[in-house]
């Protein structure tokens, strides 16, 4: 139990994890194989890899929505059993509740967790202000732009005070300008919350701009191909660092690793078709 408080224990550990799925015709295929990853407390890790290699599957194992076929997944030193209340998740698709307005969406977490209504709504009001949507509390999701909906999703997740934040291509549906704004917003929220983050993306610049460490995954079955430390100092100004020579150098190095895998996975798809 003392592991829970001990800051030297990593926030997330995947130890030789494999995950099989059954295809409809009854054959099993590997999605993750001997996958190992360690995320320290307060660390921001990005996962990049070809489409369909197993990034979402990895996040599911950490949330407890999925179970590994072999190996172990630990959160704060404890094996994952079921959904851990310290985990927050931002989805790629719109996962807001469309029949609830903004404040009801943001208050959902605390209400589910049994906090008193008044307290939940006060916290929700506060978080909506922090993501800059104070004027939109009573709007329904369909009345907001894609970027605003993502802000609501961030507030909905951060209100629970997650110690571990998992994000699955959260900004991939946004246009480039909005995405940069969201990156800066995210980094600001994260710097206050001190959460440990696993951020899945297929956008290499996004990964380098945000993360402390970039994991490059192989084509399916996914294992770790390379780990790159991103030594760009914080606080970072996302809209500017992408033009710095060091950033470009990092992109070039990581892209070399990634390109082979992307090619491999597209060759796979061609031969499968």
């Amino acid at each position: 139990m003392s592991d829970q408080q001990n800051p030297s224990v990593p926030a997330i550990e995947l130890i030789n994890v494999s995950r099989r799925f059954l295809s409809p015709d009854g054959k099993s295929f590997m999605t993750l194989q001997d996958f190992s990853m360690t995320v320290a407390r307060g660390e921001f890790v990005a996962l990049v890899g070809p489409t369909g290699c197993g990034k979402s599957t990895t996040l599911n194992l950490i949330t407890g929505l999925g179970r590994p076929s072999s190996g172990e997944v630990r959160v704060m030193g404890q094996p994952v059993r079921g959904i851990d209340p310290r985990v927050g998740f931002v989805f790629q698709a719109d996962a807001l509740f469309p029949w609830r307005n903004v404040i009801d969406n943001v208050a959902a977490g605390p209400l589910f967790r049994g906090r008193p209504r008044a307290e939940a709504y006060e916290a929700a009001h506060d978080w909506i202000g922090r993501v800059g949507l104070a004027k939109f509390e009573r709007h329904y999701p369909h009345q907001l732009s894609g970027g605003m909906r993502k802000r609501v999703a961030l507030a909905q997740t951060f209100i629970n005070g997650p110690e571990i934040l998992l994000m699955d291509e959260p900004f991939s549906a946004l246009d480039v300008q909005t995405r940069v704004v969201m990156h800066e917003e995210l980094l600001q929220l994260w710097s206050i919350s001190k959460a440990s983050v696993v951020f899945v993306t297929h956008d290499l610049e996004e990964a380098i701009g945000l993360a402390d460490k970039v994991y490059v995954l192989t084509a399916r079955p996914a294992t770790v191909k390379a780990i790159h430390a991103i030594d760009i100092p914080r606080p970072r100004v996302i809209s500017e660092i992408r033009y710095e020579p060091h950033f470009i150098e990092l992109s070039r190095t990581i892209w070399k690793d990634l390109r082979e895998e992307v090619q491999m996975s597209s060759d796979d798809m061609k031969s499968a078709a």
Binding site: L65, F89, W99
Partner: protein, 294 residues
């Protein structure tokens, strides 16, 4: 005003320098004009059909004994409303039918929703029970009418049972389907935010199945009425079905058609009220896109 818009192949071009106010006014006028045309043609078709019916029946082209004619039906409708039948005033017959249908509709929808959601949420139970549900669903509902009369007698409850069974399966299968269609990311989101299985059901599954459920409620009120009336055909002392059955006995076709008109009005009214309720409950939904079609 008329020459600001230049009609060109369906799209409207505006002359340069036309102000927004003028364009909006022109658009509003065009929309109003369109609405008027629609209403005109609706009335026109109705008038032509009724007129043709009246004329062909009176001149003997179609047999007025079987088909009656609109003016006779209107007259009979007027008498029914004012005087009712030998047994009871019209409102009492109507009330009996409505009572049967409403009770059947209420319990049929409640049970349909509860079972649909419960089975949709429980894979094992739905795999086990689905075969029985298929079999039961294959029974044409009206063949149960004589059985229900035997079981529950000639009074209220045999018709309620028939209405219930007509409504139940429609609502059940829609609620079940609605649960299966609920968005997986949304469910996962609720779970991670801290929702218990019951909270997931209540705040994700049921709201997202609601549009499916409402679709089934729309059609199944009509079915509830069918259940009540078929029950009344087989055996009853009051009710609209009873009026139709008696009218058939004395070859009063005008009265049969008049009763049908009454039922149509009731079903359309119920439909309208249901649409209002749905709109209130679904304020969160985006307004349907379209170019002003109803």
């Amino acid at each position: 005003m008329t020459d600001i818009a230049i009609q060109s192949g369906g799209a409207i071009l505006y002359a340069p320098g036309t102000s927004d106010v003028e364009i909006e006014a022109a658009a509003r006028a065009a929309a109003l004009q369109r609405k008027r045309t629609v209403i005109f043609w609706r009335c026109f078709i109705l008038a032509v059909m009724l007129g043709a019916w009246e004329v062909t029946a009176r001149t003997g082209i179609i047999d007025a004994f079987f088909y009656s004619y609109p003016s006779a039906i209107a007259e009979r409708l007027y008498e029914l409303v004012l005087e009712g039948t030998d047994e009871a005033p019209l409102w009492y017959h109507l009330w009996i039918t409505m009572e049967e249908a409403l009770i059947g509709f209420f319990f049929g929808s409640v049970f349909g929703i509860v079972f649909g959601v419960a089975l949709g949420r429980n894979r094992m139970a739905s795999d086990v029970l689905s075969v029985y549900i298929k079999v039961l669903n294959a029974i044409p509902r009206v063949v149960l009418a004589p059985i229900f009369i035997l079981l529950f007698g000639f009074g209220l409850w045999s018709k309620v049972a028939l209405s219930f069974i007509m409504v139940f399966f429609v609502v059940f299968s829609n609620a079940f389907q609605g649960v299966l269609e609920a968005d997986r990311a949304m469910i996962a989101n609720a779970q991670i935010l801290g929702a218990s299985p019951w909270q997931v059901t209540r705040s994700v599954i049921i709201p997202s199945a609601m549009s499916w459920i409402f679709a089934s409620l729309h059609i199944s009120f009509g079915f509830a009425i069918v259940g009540a009336i078929v029950g009344e055909f087989i055996g009853a002392r009051y009710g609209i079905g009873f009026i139709i059955q008696t009218a058939r006995g004395v070859h009063d076709t005008a009265e049969m058609y008049a009763s049908i008109v009454i039922i149509v009005v009731v079903v359309l009214t119920a439909e309208y009220l249901m649409t209002l309720l749905e709109q209130r409950l679904a304020r969160w939904r985006p307004a349907p896109v379209g170019d002003g079609h109803e």
